[in-house]
Symmetry: C2
Subunit: 228 residues, 2 copies
């Protein structure tokens, strides 16, 4: 029973990777770099994007966003207010909804994306620290947002997510003074599971660290080796 289950999952991941490569080829054809942005619910992905994309990126790279949500278009509406081209992708089906984006869902949205008019596509995944890390969608890089309010133990509890990412953005640092949170301990745990991850400290609320994130996004848009 257990072995059958693992086999089904492996087949599903194989199929997913095949479609992810097709997505990748389409993005390459249009010269679009792609970021898969992940986090737990409420860590601040959308707020950070609102801050980071409110003004043109350094170097002038044009950005589009694909918003993944179980249902609704709240986040897409927020980003559309910033005049960023944004496409909403909902994962709700006949059952409770998918907890992650997969390559096929992203593929279903490719036609609606203005690929010819952008240099960087940010795919905002469903808020979840488990399954999104298992499904490639055709991205160049993966980043996650981790809020200091979530505690220092998260890299140990969700190691696949922290290991999958080139960049870990530690957000809501404006709250540090009001929390029993040991930043060194979070970084120590992050080192244990992914010593190579670039890390950044940000506050979407105060804007601290957002320029560094903007520089990183700009470098990703031109696929600079420092990022990839």
């Amino acid at each position: 029973m257990h072995r059958t289950r693992v086999r089904i999952v492996e087949d599903a991941l194989d199929a997913n990777n095949t479609i992810a490569r097709a997505n990748r080829a389409d993005f390459d054809r249009e010269g679009v770099a792609v970021l898969n942005l992940m986090s737990a619910p409420g860590a601040g992905k959308t707020s950070l994007l609102e801050q980071a994309l409110g003004a043109p990126l350094p170097g002038g790279a044009r950005v589009g966003v694909l918003e993944g949500d179980v249902q609704g278009s709240l986040d897409a509406d927020r980003l559309a207010d910033r005049h960023v081209p944004v496409v909403q992708l909902n994962t709700a089906g006949g059952f409770g909804g998918e907890c992650h984006l997969d390559a096929n869902m992203v593929r279903s949205a490719i036609d609606q994306l203005p690929l010819a008019e952008i240099d960087l596509l940010v795919i905002e995944n469903v808020g979840n620290l488990v399954c999104p890390a298992e499904f490639r969608v055709g991205e160049d890089a993966r980043a996650m947002v981790c809020s200091v309010t979530e505690g220092e133990d998260k890299p140990l509890k969700y190691p696949l997510m922290f290991r999958a990412c080139e960049l870990v953005v530690i957000n809501k640092i404006d709250l540090l003074a009001h929390l029993d949170f040991d930043l060194d301990r979070l970084l120590y745990h992050l080192d244990a599971v992914n010593p190579h991850a670039r890390r950044m400290l940000t506050s979407a609320r105060t804007g601290e660290g957002v320029d560094e994130l903007r520089e990183w996004l700009a470098a990703l848009a031109v696929r600079a080796p420092a990022v990839l």
Copy 2:
């Protein structure tokens, strides 16, 4: 393709419900009430349990905890320090790990649970606002913890989770003064998806509201109609 997929999921949920009923029968035989406790990662489930279970419950109900995590036993260790009987259940397999507990996983742990020695079993689910709400595990009641740091929009973004629960615990209220968070708006959104949910305001850090949670757990342990 899509129809086949929905069919597979429905079959899986049917099988899950059958096993959940078997769990329920086992819990009933031992006179154990069961709570399925859910939240996003880092919302404070374990911290609240540490506070709520640090002293005997009103009425003297005896509590055990089943800890669901992708991997590791950090939370179980924290609760064991409070002298609560706790069993760890890890969902990590050959792939990235399951993002939720299902009835079969809980069933696999039943033999290790000291059912004859407890009146209430709290099952702490994997931190995730999507899939845990889809899988019954044989519980009497479902509760979720929602942190004020996650934003007011979460009931609209994860309606199945908020709809599934008899109790919504709004945690980390000690941080309200430091956030741009509108509590009335969260409650308004909660009313929209689940007007019947009992709600509580808590801070695991200051202990505010924890007595109310302890009273609710004590009532659940004797399966009081006010709770169920």
